[in-house]
Symmetry: C2
Subunit: 220 residues, 2 copies
């Protein structure tokens, strides 16, 4: 019975995600959906990425949070359009929530729309938003067992950002295990070691993203 209900909600979400997808395609922009645990460093990575890209890429941000606007206020400082979605208790964004705020942006004038999801390694990946690429952020302080314990996000993501690598030497993490298990789950995805705090690896990740944006614009 419960499964039936969930299936209903999911396929309803998939329909709405397909509508978002059409809008994004018509507008010719790349859309990424950033997911990861609370505190994995999604917003800090976003800040560093915007700092690097905002002069050459026309971008906007949707911030997903349960209650607060803390992250949106952080992004506003960079002078890019940002819209907050508060889920009011829900542990993930869904396609309908995203659809509701798309009117706030001039989508055809954008190259990149970044959606930062609610901090949660489990639920958000089950709800497509119509994005081109899912981005997984994992802090190395979370431990090397996380890809096998929470495989779905890693399986679905086009790129994995291993954040806080400046802390590797102070933890018991085995980076080889981490890379091996991500490859096991998803041999195709790009993986970058980054430190949003020190800036390490951000240029490489931003370069990869820029290539994807170029291809998206050529394809449109």
């Amino acid at each position: 019975m419960e499964i039936k209900v969930n299936t209903g909600i999911l396929s309803q979400n998939d329909r709405k995600a397909a509508e978002n997808r059409e809008i994004f395609d018509r507008s010719g922009l790349l859309v990424i959906n950033i997911m990861g645990s609370p505190g994995a460093g999604k917003t800090t990575i976003l800040e560093k990425t915007i700092d690097l890209l905002a002069r050459q890429i026309r971008l906007a941000v949707i911030e997903g949070d349960i209650y607060t606007s803390k992250d949106a206020r952080r992004i506003e400082k960079y002078g890019v359009p940002v819209k907050q979605i508060n889920t009011g208790g829900a542990c993930h964004l869904d396609a309908a929530m995203v659809a509701k705020v798309l009117g706030y942006f001039n989508l055809p004038a954008l190259d990149l729309l970044i959606i930062e999801n609610v901090g949660n390694l489990v639920c958000p990946v089950e709800f497509n938003l119509g994005e081109d690429i899912k981005v997984a952020v994992l802090s190395i302080t979370e431990g090397d067992d996380k890809p096998l314990k929470y495989p779905l996000l890693f399986r679905e993501s086009g790129v994995v950002l291993l954040n806080k690598v400046d802390l590797v030497e102070f933890t018991d993490i085995d980076m080889e295990v981490l890379h091996r298990d991500i490859r096991l789950i998803n041999p195709e995805c790009a993986v970058f070691e980054v430190s949003a705090r020190t800036g390490r690896g951000i240029e490489e990740w931003a370069g990869w993203l820029t290539e994807k944006i170029k291809k998206s614009i050529q394809g449109a």
Copy 2:
């Protein structure tokens, strides 16, 4: 419509949790429900706590995970009874899942039953399991903004363990903000700074827990 469905599932869970609660009361043991983000350090804290308490306290463990038995295998090494629950995709334990495995334990012979929930800062707290005390584990590497962003777990918890404090000096965390915001949300809860890796603070937390167990046994 969706809200109706959720309310139904929740009150069904509350009924089942009340049944668990009766069983626990009859058995005269303390039950704790440990929650926190993936990688907050729940299992490592558990290992250190068991190592300290298992000689004087009769305890058993229920391990909640989505797919794997990695955590249960870690706990088995300590020679305490442990039962794995795999939620098969669900992002939290519910009272019915817990009820199903209670038969594996000789509950009246126990002082303490520890339930480690699925790694998730959002959903598990919405599902009572019949426990006496909710325990929140937050790694300081997750950042000092987490209590205000995910208030429900902190509001409901009897104790908050701030883990990985050995990493404070390598991060930008403001411990005063963290303590202040937890107090703001929940003036009553106990808060311990711990490092499961170095052992710091584990004795203080285990001492607090032992006091609660004693009171529970006296009350039974």
